[in-house]
């Protein structure tokens, strides 16, 4: 029973593929997987937009959208019909292109943003035996294909022939390439410990339990540091608050998406959320044990449910951060990436190596925690107005 529910989708797919004649089966298999992934994530995107608006609303002490329910009925469904209304609005809005804009590049930019971010879904292990593409270089594929989205940001900003769009695009690209470095370095520590770039092997390295604690990499000092660096850098890569200056609504009115309306804007929006889902999925794979359950007695819950729960936990964290933290200024953002996160990512790499070579026990916990927390405190206090380790002084409180 447990196994059946866990492998439900795998068995469904095999049954579906078996209906077709043998020569077409590989193509049908690929097609079914691709369609399933796109449908699942598009639905999840729709649900996440409502959840975000309601979540932000509650953080700001108001209700979020709660009126739109099923069309043509009186059912309100707590506002979860809002994506239907948003989708219809996006489709029927007039799609104008500025007169001086570069039409071909303007048209291709939303596609160039959506396609790489959708391709990154192919290497995430959604459950036991549910990895669409088992590449030997899965993690490298993920980061390589994700880098294609930066080019789309430039295309969107430049083709609109608008100063604000161009500023927004330049800021966005500077931010994305700066945060790519700590993102990849924190993943490298995990790759080093798991011994492979393949996402399947990384998850399989985390499926055991050491006593009551699962073998997830986040439950080690270097893993916790890496996880925090990864989620911060992933927030910056997706241009989410507090790193959303490139599309800051109060600053440059949506930045590089400025001249896009209707369906093309909806595609950018969807691409951004897909980026968040992919980053959440990768964080779950690299640090949180992928589809593994936290305790052996919880394994009756299917593996794909655990994966999606972890991914949605990451999304919840992003929504929470958006509602709580103020925006960072561009130079603060860049300093944070290059002067703080990059050294800490290298430190976590060193601590991972120390962890590997020391014998299991209390000693390695203490040594690695000091190795990670020491530079964190030193850098944190040291970079803050160069005061060293003095007492923290508040400018406006008390």
């Amino acid at each position: 029973m447990v196994n059946g529910l866990d492998q439900l989708f795998v068995n469904l797919k095999h049954a579906l593929v078996g209906l077709f004649p043998a020569p077409v089966q590989p193509w049908v298999s690929v097609g079914v997987t691709a369609v399933a992934i796109v449908l699942v994530f598009a639905t999840l995107f729709a649900i996440t937009t409502v959840l975000e608006r309601k979540g932000l609303g509650r953080i700001q002490n108001r209700y979020g959208p709660n009126r739109v329910g099923l069309p043509f009925t009186q059912l309100r469904l707590f506002g979860f019909g809002q994506p239907i209304a948003d989708g219809i609005k996006a489709l029927i809005k007039e799609d104008f292109v500025p007169a001086r804009a570069d039409r071909v590049v303007h048209f291709l930019a939303p596609l160039a943003m959506l396609v790489p971010l959708t391709l990154t879904f192919a290497v995430l292990p959604y459950g036991r035996n549910m990895l669409p593409l088992d590449l030997d270089t899965g993690v490298l594929y993920f980061f390589a294909v994700g880098a294609g989205a930066e080019l789309a940001v430039f295309m969107a900003g430049w083709s609109s022939r608008n100063k604000y769009s161009l500023f927004g695009a330049m800021r966005a690209i500077a931010q994305m390439i700066s945060y790519e470095v700590p993102l990849i370095l924190s993943a490298v520590a995990v790759v080093m410990m798991a011994g492979s770039l393949s996402t399947r092997r990384i998850v399989e390295a985390q499926l055991g339990h050491a006593g009551w604690l699962p073998d997830w990499f986040v439950f080690t000092p270097w893993g916790l540091a890496g996880f925090l660096i990864f989620i911060t850098a992933a927030t910056a890569e997706s241009n989410r608050s507090p790193f959303d200056l490139p599309e800051g609504e109060s600053e440059i009115v949506a930045g590089y998406f400025l001249e896009y309306s209707g369906f093309k804007f909806a595609i950018f929006f969807m691409a951004e959320y897909f980026g968040m889902f992919a980053a959440g999925g990768m964080a779950a794979t690299l640090f949180l044990g992928g589809y593994g359950a936290p305790a052996p007695w919880l394994e009756w819950i299917p593996s794909w449910a655990w994966f999606f729960a972890k991914m949605m936990g990451f999304i919840f964290l992003l929504i929470w951060l958006r509602g709580t933290l103020p925006r960072l200024r561009q130079d603060q953002l860049m300093n944070f990436a290059w002067k703080f996160m990059l050294p800490l990512a290298l430190v976590s790499l060193g601590a991972a190596a120390l962890w590997h070579y020391m014998a299991p026990g209390l000693a390695r916990w203490v040594v690695c925690t000091v190795a990670v927390a020491g530079p964190y405190l030193l850098l944190g206090r040291g970079l803050l107005e160069r005061k060293g380790l003095g007492r923290r002084v508040y400018r406006f409180a008390e």
Binding site: D136, G148, L166, I177
Partner: protein, 166 residues
């Protein structure tokens, strides 16, 4: 020739030719991205997965963006050019055609290219990592030094000089 090789070849060559002939520099850079992507597909078809994805990450994710930034930072100082090609373009074209002719003649006449391919080759990341840390550790360290020097050098060369009048 398989159909996939033909498609990859056409995309790569079209991107490359567009990259060197278009007038608008940003279009050139974007066509170059197409050429790089075609090459990455060629590497993947040749069973070199790591190199293919490294090509995407480094060339498309970094070098193309660098070229685009350079294009944006070197615009606007001069009136729009009517000619894209230099006055000596026939000589350049002749030299390139001579090189192409020589290479094509060498390929057609060579024995090495007539051999049939071997069976499956395997280049896992683990093997590449092992080779990098054992046989190729000296080039790896020298490359690290080279990148540091290039980083510092590029920043120093492109930095605005403070205090000196231009």
């Amino acid at each position: 020739m398989t159909i996939s090789f033909l498609i990859i070849a056409v995309v790569t060559l079209a991107g490359a030719i567009a990259a060197v002939t278009l007038r608008n520099l940003v279009h050139c850079a974007l066509a170059l991205v197409g050429a790089f992507a075609g090459l990455a597909a060629a590497f993947l078809q040749l069973d070199a997965q790591f190199v293919g994805f490294a090509q995407v990450l480094i060339y498309i994710g970094a070098v193309a963006i660098l070229v685009l930034f350079a294009v944006l930072l070197t615009r606007g100082g001069e009136p729009p050019q009517p000619q894209t090609f230099s006055w000596s373009w026939p000589w350049g074209l002749a030299v390139a055609l001579a090189v192409l002719g020589m290479l094509a003649w060498a390929i057609a006449g060579s024995v090495a290219t007539r051999r049939q391919p071997a069976a499956q080759v395997e280049a896992t990341t683990k093997q590449i990592g092992d080779a990098l840390m054992t046989r190729f550790v000296l080039p790896l360290e020298v490359a690290g030094l080279l990148f540091t020097v290039a980083l510092i050098g590029a920043v120093l060369v492109a930095m605005r000089e403070e205090g000196k009048s231009e």
